[in-house]
Amino acid sequence: MDTAVTAKKKWWSGGHSPFNVSYGKLMMWYFLLSDAFTFGALLISYGTIRFMSTSWPDPNEVFRSFPGMGERHIPMGFVSLMTFILIMSSVTMVLAVHAGHQRRQKDVVKWLIWTIIGGIAFLSCQAWEWTHLWHEGAWWGQNPFLNADGTAASSNFTNFFFTITGFHGLHVTSGVVLNIVILSNVLKGTYENRGHYEMVEKVGLYWHFVDLVWVFVFTCFYLL
């Protein structure tokens, strides 16, 4: 993997990876590509239905609550916190990958633990948000929120919201599980014996992808 990259190198002449990455990392990229199409399909179908509707609930009205703040209106408040947590956990993941490059085992452990904490914090926030919306009467098939123009809304809004954020939350959950598996391997010294921490990088790619998807979910559901 440490082959020097020269300008005139014949990448397709065989004998080495034409992508200059290991098989596992390339396959992680292709998996993420396919996952991008899955999320893309979900978000585009959401967009189609929204374009089809004459009116749609105002996100600032729906997502206005913050834990412990009762009935006070804090539009965007809670989702900003969730976004911050996820970006932060992405940073700690890069720092873990970075420490892995330099084979600083202790730092890899430290940053992976922070990443796991970030992931769990994000999931807890989402659990609170879902529970809160459920208490307000929102769920698959039922939508208590009015359209922005005051007319009654269909359940399209809640169906898409719960399906897409749920699918994203499922990805975060499996990301946390993968991080825990990786962390236990780091602690056991598996990667130290192997001589490299590439597995941390591969899981890192997945984790950043989850962050990437959230950037789009955030825009589509809370901003637009």
Partner: protein, 135 residues
């Protein structure tokens, strides 16, 4: 870092510069997000026209996506072959988005224009004829 032995000196230097890049990327992402939230809150207050505000949100989202993929996922530092094999298939999204959103829009127009009780556009032609008769 001060007690690292000398032969690792260059590594430490490299480490510092890429740790800097990581944090710089973090501040860019955070800054864009805070800016987006400010715009959204200001939009609630002042009710700006929707199209420019939404276009701004989408552009900023793509900028954030670029930084996550290029820096955090390190794709910006890979060779061109890998960048292309990941990005080229994503061009399909250009067609997906245009085709499906246009479909949704035409669906909405049909539901509005062809709903029961909606006056038919033909009547407009009759109105013009009426005006002609009066002359």
């Amino acid at each position: 870092m001060s007690n690292t032995h000398t032969d690792a000196g260059q590594d430490v230097h490299v480490a510092d510069s890429s740790t800097k890049t990581i944090w710089r990327t973090f501040w860019i992402l955070l800054g864009i997000t805070v800016f987006e939230i400010c715009i959204a809150l200001a939009h609630m207050q002042f009710h700006w026209p929707k199209l420019p505000v939404n276009s701004l949100f989408i552009i900023l989202t793509i900028v954030k996506a670029f930084f996550i993929v290029a820096e955090f996922m390190h794709l910006g530092h890979e060779i061109k072959n890998l960048i292309m094999t990941v990005l080229m298939p994503l061009l399909l999204f250009v067609w997906f988005i245009i085709a499906f959103l246009a479909d949704g829009d035409s669906w909405k127009n049909m539901r509005k224009d062809l709903a029961p009780g909606t006056p038919k556009p033909v009547e407009k032609v009759q109105v013009i004829e009426h005006e002609g008769h009066h002359e």
